[in-house]
C-alpha cells in the first residue's frame, strides 16, 4: 500500500514538473510572438524603404539616360543646322549677282 502511495506521489510531482515545463514554454512562445510583432513594424519599413530607394535610383537613371538622349538629339539638330547653313552660304554666294540683277530688273522695268 505504501508503495502505491509513493508511486502516486512521484507521478503527481512529475505532472507538476511537466506542467511547469509547458507553462514556461508557453510564456517563451508568447514572448517570441510579441517580439515578432514589434519587429514587424521595422520589417515593414525596411522592406518599404528598400523598394522606394531602388525606385528612386531607377528614376534618376531614367532621367540621366533621357538627358543623354536629348544631348545627342541636340547635337544632331545643331550639326544638321550647321550643314544647312553651309549650303545656304554656298547657294547664296553662287546666286548673289543673279539676285541683284533680278531686283534691278524689277525696279527698272
Amino acid at each position: 500500500m505504501l508503495a502505491v502511495l509513493e508511486a502516486f506521489k512521484a507521478i503527481k510531482e512529475k505532472h507538476l514538473e511537466a506542467k511547469r515545463i509547458i507553462d514556461e514554454a508557453t510564456v517563451q512562445a508568447e514572448k517570441i510572438k510579441k517580439e515578432a510583432e514589434q519587429k514587424a513594424i521595422s520589417a515593414y519599413e525596411e522592406a518599404y524603404n528598400a523598394v522606394i530607394s531602388q525606385a528612386e535610383q531607377e528614376a534618376i537613371e531614367v532621367k540621366r539616360k533621357t538627358a543623354e538622349e536629348a544631348e545627342r538629339e541636340l547635337e544632331k539638330i545643331l550639326s544638321h543646322a550647321e550643314e544647312q547653313a553651309k549650303e545656304i552660304e554656298a547657294k547664296a554666294e553662287k546666286n548673289f549677282e543673279k539676285a541683284v540683277d533680278a531686283v534691278l530688273n524689277m525696279v527698272l522695268q
Binding site: I22, A25, E45, E46, A59, A70, I77
Partner: protein
Amino acid sequence: MMESTRAITEMILLEAQKSAEHIIQEAQKSAEDTLEKQRQRGVNKANEVAQSIFKKAENEAEVIKLSITADAKIKANWTMLSKKELWIAAVLNETKDKLRLLTQSKEYRPILEKLITEAGIILGGKELEVLLSEKDSALSLKLDKLAKEISEKTGFETKLRLSEEKPKVIGGAMVRTTNGKVIMDNTFDDILGRREKDLRSKIAKILFK
C-alpha cells in the same frame, strides 16, 4: 512497482518536453510568418508608390527632352533665317549701290524720263510738278517732250515743271499735282520700299534655290 512508476514519470516528462518544444517551434514559425507577411506588405505598398515615382520620372524626363530639342530646333531655324535675312539684305544693299552707280551713267537719263512719264500718266496729266534729287535736278531733261508724251497718252494737255523741293533719294522721280494733293512716287527708294515684300520673296527664291 518502482520500475513501472519510473517509466511512467519519465514518459510524462518526455511528453512535456516534446510539447514544450512543439509550442516554441510553432511560436517561432508564427513569428517568422508575421515578419514575412509584414515585409511582403511593405514591398507591395512600396511597389505601388514606386510605379508612380517611375512614371513621374519618365514624364519629367520626356518633358525635359522635348523642351531641349524644341529649343534646339528653334535656335537652328532662327540661325538659318538670320543667315538668309543677312544675304537678302546684302542683295538689297548691293542693288542700291548699283542704282547709285546707274544714276551716274549715261543710261540713267532715259530711265528717269520713263519714270517721270509713267508717273505723269498715272496722275492723268495736266499741271504737274517733278521732284528730283539735287544731283538729278542738274540734268538737262526735256520736260516739254515728256509733257507732250503724257498729253498724248492721257488726252489732257500737260505741263511739267521742276520743283524747288529736292528730296534726298538715290534716284528716280516724284511727280505731283501742282496743288500737292496727289503724288506719284517713282523714286528708286520708294519702288524698293513699296515692293520690298515681293522683292524679298523673289530674292530668297533666287538666292537659295
